[in-house]
């Protein structure tokens, strides 16, 4: 699996040799070797917690390694701080942008490295320098130089970060999960930009856990698992399947499970639903929705277009301003969360940290969350902790929660394991409807596959399932039909096989597809595309 080494007389841009970094008992990096060749894009792939960010933080001078050596252009280097790394020509674009939001783009770019003229900041020199960087790489950032960063969208902010690194003379750029916050169109733009940077001679490290992106963007891919470098492969010679297996350490299935039944009776219906958001703004503007037995309805959309409010109106967490919600044909618009929970409307929440789990509780106490009125765990208001403990053990075992110990605090679990526990608990309600909001956000590939399979099993068992996600591949893999939400409305509904990612992206950006009827067909029986390719 090791790529052929280039001639030894050309020292790589970065070489890491035997890097080991531990935090207490946790080995984050275990004797990792890594080399970044000049003028290439090198992806660092791995599940959450596999040590990617730690390794790059060592390179960027944020952490001291316990063992091992960093070479830049063949020279051994010691970085005490990010400043040392920057001086050596290394820049890092963090997942959470390090920008001062009320300050303008110009001020952010030059911050800490302001060109001065007689003790004053020389704005003209700064502007000229930034404009020359932008024109060299084809950035559009110079159009926003006087705009406060807080007014920019996330994609533009990211480009500001990149320009900031280039302004500081970075030859080597580390991008930590750069696509996590971007729309599909923005991702494409970013990948083009990385190409341009490579063409200009820069060397890039691209941290990701998304297989399709690293295959599209990178020249070479190094896979980390449990802190160890599993191998390095040229992107041209590998497949998603092989990479996934390297990441997870076992075989992974991406195929959709075949359906076993066709949709049945409507279970949950909404009609002309109008819902107000937290800031008093109307976020859901007349949505019609029907989801039937044996069916998964996907809801696509850029975050903030009313999906959260819609789901909360269906779960009973948020008051409906206008319209009706029906469950098995009976109107339930005025019922609260507890009633709907007991009636069989389960919910995998968007935010597992603040909603899905009480971080300070152990898993036993968390197993009761949502079950406070549900027999046999509670009878006449009295909690039967023995049964709750059994239930927690069942969830942990059946859903492969690590560590397999219900006595640990929820806060100590990794994101993927927290999510598996929540999914297990919500399925444990034996509901009729499962509403899942971003069920795999921030979850590693292994857990993602597991959660997807469980949702599909639920559908096959006859549940009505609604999945809200901003990940198109997830919606495609799960949904029987996809409704696209834009500014509080369903602007279209499509069959997953009938559209491309680009088309979905356009819909999410509010543009209707040509040749589609202008009125959304939300009342829909599943509209089976006769030409849909036969992957089920």
């Amino acid at each position: 699996m090791v790529a052929t080494d280039p001639p030894a007389d050309d020292p790589p841009a970065v070489r890491l040799e035997g890097i080991t970094k531990t935090f207490g008992d946790v080995v984050a990096n275990d004797d990792v070797d890594f080399r970044l060749e000049h003028g290439t894009i090198h992806a660092l792939l791995g599940e959450n917690g596999s040590g990617k960010t730690t390794l790059m933080s060592v390179l960027y001078g944020l952490y001291d390694q316990d063992e091992g050596t960093i070479y830049v252009d063949g020279e051994p280097r010691t970085f005490e701080s990010p400043q040392d790394a920057m001086d050596a020509g290394i820049g890092m674009i963090h997942q959470h942008f390090q920008l001062v939001e009320p300050m303008t783009v110009l001020q952010n770019v030059v911050l800490g490295h302001e060109p001065t003229d007689g003790g004053l900041v020389d704005e003209r020199a700064a502007r000229e320098e930034i404009e020359s960087i932008c024109s060299r790489y084809g950035f559009d950032v110079d159009r926003h130089l006087e705009t406060p960063v807080e007014e920019l969208d996330l994609g533009t902010r990211q480009r500001v970060e990149i320009v900031k690194s280039l302004y500081r003379g970075a030859e080597i750029l580390i991008l930590d999960e750069p696509t996590a916050v971007l729309t599909p169109q923005e991702v494409e733009g970013l990948l083009d930009l990385l190409d341009d940077l490579r063409a200009a001679g820069h060397s890039l490290i691209f941290i990701s856990h998304k297989l399709d992106e690293v295959l599209a963007a990178a020249d070479r891919i190094t896979v980390l698992r449990d802190g160890e470098a599993i191998g390095t492969v040229p992107a041209a010679e590998t497949t998603e399947q092989e990479l996934a297996e390297m990441m997870v350490g076992r075989e992974v299935s991406f195929d959709r499970l075949a359906r076993t039944a066709t949709p049945g009776e409507p279970v949950l219906e909404a009609e002309e639903l109008r819902v107000t958001g937290n800031r008093g703004r109307e976020q859901v503007r007349g949505v019609d929705l029907t989801v039937r037995e044996h069916e998964i309805l996907g809801i696509a959309g850029v975050q903030g277009n009313g999906q959260t409010e819609l789901i909360e109106a269906l779960t009973g967490h948020r008051r409906v301003e206008e319209g009706t919600v029906r469950f098995h044909g009976d109107e339930i618009t005025e019922t609260g969360r507890r009633w709907r929970l007991e009636a069989g409307i389960a919910y995998i929440p968007e935010d597992r940290h603040t909603e899905g789990l009480v971080q300070a509780y152990d898993l036993v106490k968390n197993a009761l969350l949502g079950n406070q009125t549900v027999p046999p765990y509670v009878a006449d208001g009295w909690i039967d902790w023995a049964r709750v403990t059994d239930h927690a053990e069942e969830i942990v075992e059946e859903f492969d929660v690590q560590p397999p110990n219900p006595a640990v605090d929820a806060a100590s679990l990794s994101g993927g394991n927290q999510q598996k526990f929540i999914v297990g608990r919500e399925i444990g309600h034996e509901p009729d409807v499962m509403l899942a909001s971003h069920p795999t956000r921030g979850v590693d590939v292994g857990s993602l596959e597991f959660i997807h399979n469980r949702l599909i099993e639920l559908r096959d068992e006859g549940l009505a399932v609604v999945v809200v996600s901003s990940k198109l591949d997830e919606l495609r893999a799960l949904s029987d039909r996809i409704a696209v939400m834009y500014e509080g409305e369903f602007i279209d509904e499509v069959a997953p096989e009938a559209v491309t990612d680009a088309e979905l992206g356009l819909l999410m950006a509010g543009q209707r597809l040509e040749g589609e009827p202008s009125e959304p067909e939300a009342e829909a029986t599943v509209d089976r595309q006769p030409g849909g390719d036969g992957d089920r």
Partner: protein, 377 residues
């Protein structure tokens, strides 16, 4: 991803908060005992610096709280009041509601207790049976009145967003003002030389068992311990208690799980006020025998905040914490009489103890509420 330029004071605060939030139960008990000892030591140094004999003073503290049957029952009397008031505070704090109005609620509960007994007394046969009946009526009235008086700020917080800390403090002043006026005016008998209500009728009292002390009955202490037991079991084993405590830990998770946050706030405040009302009733029936100007009642409702914090808002932990505060209060009155240490100094020393023992827990709570201690909280 550690932010390299986080400012230093904030980082230090984060570190302390983290350490305190991570402390285990035993560590926290250790911290409480250690800080009590340290505070007393500092008190002794201050006493010595003021020119008094610190050893004599220390001896007086012990003698004044446990040195004789009289001192001991006095300690238990204060302990009883602190237990009930401490539990009242703990219920609210545990659910994340800051009821600072226990003092006002106990005043309202106390006056309701006395009034209901005095008004009903003519209709009840005199003697033991009537006395017991009236006592029970008085306790019930206090519980209802205290609960209602606390429900008010609960409703204001839950449905109108009024900060409960401010409203409960204001309601304290209102209770002190109105009850003070009533006790000095319409409720004051013509022959009373001090500001007070009528005496409670003969037979309205807790039975004198084990100890013979006009101001203390073991039944009062037993009542307080029973309340501790009920509240502790309720929190740990009932679905209502789970909802309440979960709301205190993480409101958003409680809401996710079907808990109505508004109703929980009102229920919590009401429950807290019911226990606070009981403090007033026990004070009236067991200690005083009538009701006095509320500005002259000890500040049990405020001290109870320190008691509850020292106990980490755990109802069972309130018992030893109350014993400490009861002993200090008790020896304070002894030292005042039997030594030349000025009363201000004693109050100051008690203040240092309160500060020392309560500060770590207070810091924990503030850290939780403000999100100190890093991102993972």
């Amino acid at each position: 991803m550690s932010d390299s330029d986080t400012n230093r004071p904030r980082a230090t605060l984060d570190k302390i908060a983290d350490r305190l939030l991570d402390a285990t139960l035993y560590e926290r008990i250790g911290i409480a005992i250690g800080s009590t000892g340290l505070a007393l030591l500092i008190g002794l140094v201050v006493v010595a610096a003021a020119g008094h004999n610190p050893l004599l003073f220390a001896q007086q503290l012990v003698v004044g709280s446990f040195g004789s049957t009289g001192a001991f029952t006095r300690t238990l009397r204060f302990t009883t009041l602190f237990i009930l008031a401490g539990v009242a505070v703990a219920i609210a704090f545990r659910a994340g509601v800051f009821n600072i109005g226990v003092q006002g609620q106990l005043i309202v509960g106390g006056i309701a207790c006395v009034l209901s007994i005095i008004w009903l007394a003519p209709f009840v046969p005199a003697g033991a049976v009537g006395g017991v009946g009236l006592t029970l009526v008085g306790l019930l009235a206090a519980v209802v009145a205290g609960g209602l008086y606390a429900a008010l700020p609960g409703v204001l917080k839950a449905y109108y967003g009024a900060n409960e800390i401010i409203t409960t403090i204001m309601l304290n002043f209102i209770a002190i003002g109105i009850v003070g006026w009533a006790v000095d005016g319409p409720l004051r008998p013509d022959d009373a030389r001090s500001v007070r209500t009528e005496y409670l009728p003969e037979g309205v009292a807790f039975p004198q068992l084990v100890f013979s002390d006009p101001n203390f009955s073991i039944v009062g202490l037993a009542l307080a311990l029973a309340v501790v037991g009920v509240v502790a079991v309720g929190m740990a084993r009932t679905s209502f208690g789970y909802d309440m405590v979960t709301s205190g830990y993480q409101t958003s998770a409680a809401r996710f799980a079907g808990v109505d946050p508004q109703r929980t706030i009102v229920a919590t405040m009401t429950l807290s006020g019911m226990v606070a009302g009981l403090v007033g009733a026990v004070f009236a029936i067991m200690v005083q025998g009538y009701f006095i100007d509320p500005s002259g009642i000890g500040t049990y409702g405020f001290d109870a905040i320190a008691v509850s914090l020292l106990a980490a808002n755990n109802p069972v932990g309130v018992v030893p914490a109350s014993l400490l505060f009861g002993a200090l209060e008790s020896s304070g009155s002894h030292v005042q009489i039997h030594s030349d240490v000025p009363v201000q100094l004693i109050d100051g020393i008690v203040g240092v103890v309160v500060l020392f023992v309560a500060a770590p827990e207070l810091f924990r709570m503030i850290a939780k509420r403000t999100g100190l201690g890093g991102d993972r909280r």
